[in-house]
Amino acid sequence: MTRRTSKLRITKDRGFKTLVICLSFLSMVPLLLILYYIIKNGLPALNWDFFKDLPRPVGEKGGGIANAIIGSCILVVIASQPSIILGIAAGIFLSDHKGSRVAYWVGLAVDVLQGTPSIIIGIIAYLWVVIPMGGFSALSGGIALGLMMLPMIIKATEETLNLIPASLKEASLALGVPYYRTILKVVLPAGVSGIMTGVLISIARVGGETAPLLFTAFGNAFMNWNATKPVNALPLLIYNYATSPYPEWHRVAWGASCVLVGLVFTLNIFVRIMTRRWKVTF
């Protein structure tokens, strides 16, 4: 009896392992398919003109995405400045006041803000910026993206600072260095790689966001450097062109997808290499 049951159990064990491996590899398939289609349809559309030209009207051949690339950069720059400063400050507070009541509620707020759907952030930026300013603008889009970056940067700062040994801070304080100088000159420099990683990852994430831009940055067929006017962004351009009925525009959308995915992956891989190199071990 034992021999038969143990045989059965071994077979079950093997079957289970095979199942787990099969399912795991099966869940890789979508990534491969997405990459395959993006490269197959996107790469042929890419050339130098694609990066430097403006979009053309339907019917005209060619046309590029220069305005969308510039627009995405403007949006990310507007978004990152306030959210990096505010995010790092709040992150320092959270890691230094662990266990306090304020930190508990703020931590909860950060979690909720991180889980808030991006479309809601879009509505908020519309209500807070677009309506008072009287129109769609790069500024409102930047603020929407900034609201999305904020919780990610706070989390990254908090988690990084938590890993820094307390002895480092205590040594500085014991030498009579005031608290603010200890934080600015000892703790933050030790955690800069982790915080930088968080910032770059959050940029990669919001750079691909579309929903908060639909009714803030809105999109623009022309080049625009003015922060109070609507701008185009890569994801917005992909959305507008992909849902249009023109094959010529679909070609541009595939090309733009190729560029966007390329940028996001490059940033992710860069961060991964850098964290390995910058890693401060204690």
Partner: protein, 306 residues
């Protein structure tokens, strides 16, 4: 004399240090409180802007079946149903895959090439923008689903609830897999070793020791993944078909709460329409808020216990 002035300087620097110290602490506290205020302000803004619709429709907003901007008749039931169907279906489809991934990198291959390949690929999957998923689904997945529908004699929309769930499930797999893996790694190795020493096979240890122990954490991971699926906008908007009628079947086109806002907000005419859309947003905000707080609470509790 010299001594006296140096004392004075020390006193001055100490005074300015104290001032800077005080200001610094205040700035940190204020930036932390700003986040809390921000969240409350978001809630209040949504609430006040949806007051028109709240006044006219009251609680019946969530059970009324018609959404008709022309006659000014707004009910959110079709979107509630659409959101629930797509998210739960997506969760159901993704669950076996994300569990398998978590077991794969958390139990079978804790290191080595296979581990890093699978882990990096899942991380990359999580990093792809949702617009790319939507675009790909619209041009690749929709024709495939349409082909199946033709074969089985269902009206070949291609787009619809089912297609949206499929792409959603692909999007949430990496998310719930990474949470499940973390929870699985918290299972103490001595109870696993105890089971092994009694002669249990790998499969028995995983299904009878690890998974039951990590049950609540895996549930929390699924909950957080559900929260993400509920609020996902772009990919769903592109493949769900954007119909404001109550979806009749799994394959019929519909709309989710997020997708109806994305579609109609810029074209909304009249205050009531805008206000109704914002009320849909308010509902979505509250639902994701509750789900996130619950999920995070469970995860936090487990990490403290372990």
């Amino acid at each position: 004399m010299e001594n006296h002035s140096s004392v004075k300087i020390a006193a001055i620097t100490r005074h300015s240090n104290q001032k800077a110290e005080f200001a610094f602490q205040k700035i940190l506290l204020l930036s932390a409180l700003a986040i809390l205020i921000l969240l409350v302000a978001i809630f209040l803004s949504l609430l006040f802007q949806s007051i028109d619709s709240l006044k006219i429709f009251g609680f019946s907003f969530v059970v009324r079946k018609t959404w008709d901007p022309v006659s000014g008749n707004f009910g959110a039931l079709p979107f509630l149903v659409g959101t629930l169907w797509t998210s739960f279906l997506a969760l159901l489809i993704s669950l076996p895959f994300s569990l398998a991934l978590a077991i794969f990198i958390g139990e079978y291959y804790k290191e080595g090439i296979l581990h890093s390949v699978i882990k990096n690929v899942t991380d990359l999957l999580a990093g792809i923008p949702s617009i790319i998923y939507g675009f790909w689904a619209l041009f690749v997945l929709v024709p495939i689903v349409r082909g199946f529908q033709m074969k089985f004699g269902i009206f070949p929309y291609g787009v619809g609830i089912f297609t949206a769930s499929l792409i959603l499930s692909v999007m949430i797999i990496p998310y719930s897999a990474s949470i499940s893996r973390e929870v699985i790694s918290l299972v103490p190795s001595d109870i696993k070793e105890a089971a092994f020493s009694l002669g249990a096979t790998r499969q028995e240890v995983i299904t009878k020791v690890v998974l039951p122990y990590a049950r609540s954490g895996i549930g929390a991971g699924a909950l957080l993944a559900l929260g993400r699926a509920l609020g996902e906008t772009m990919a769903v908007t592109m493949v769900i078909g954007n119909s404001n009628l109550l979806p009749g079947s799994l394959f019929s086109p519909g709309n989710t709460m997020a997708s109806v806002i994305a579609n109609e907000f810029t074209e909304a005419t009249g205050r009531l329409h805008v206000s109704s859309l914002i009320e849909v947003g308010l509902l979505l905000f509250l639902v994701t808020l509750v789900i996130n707080i619950m999920g995070k609470y469970i995860i936090r509790k487990i990490s403290v216990e372990a």
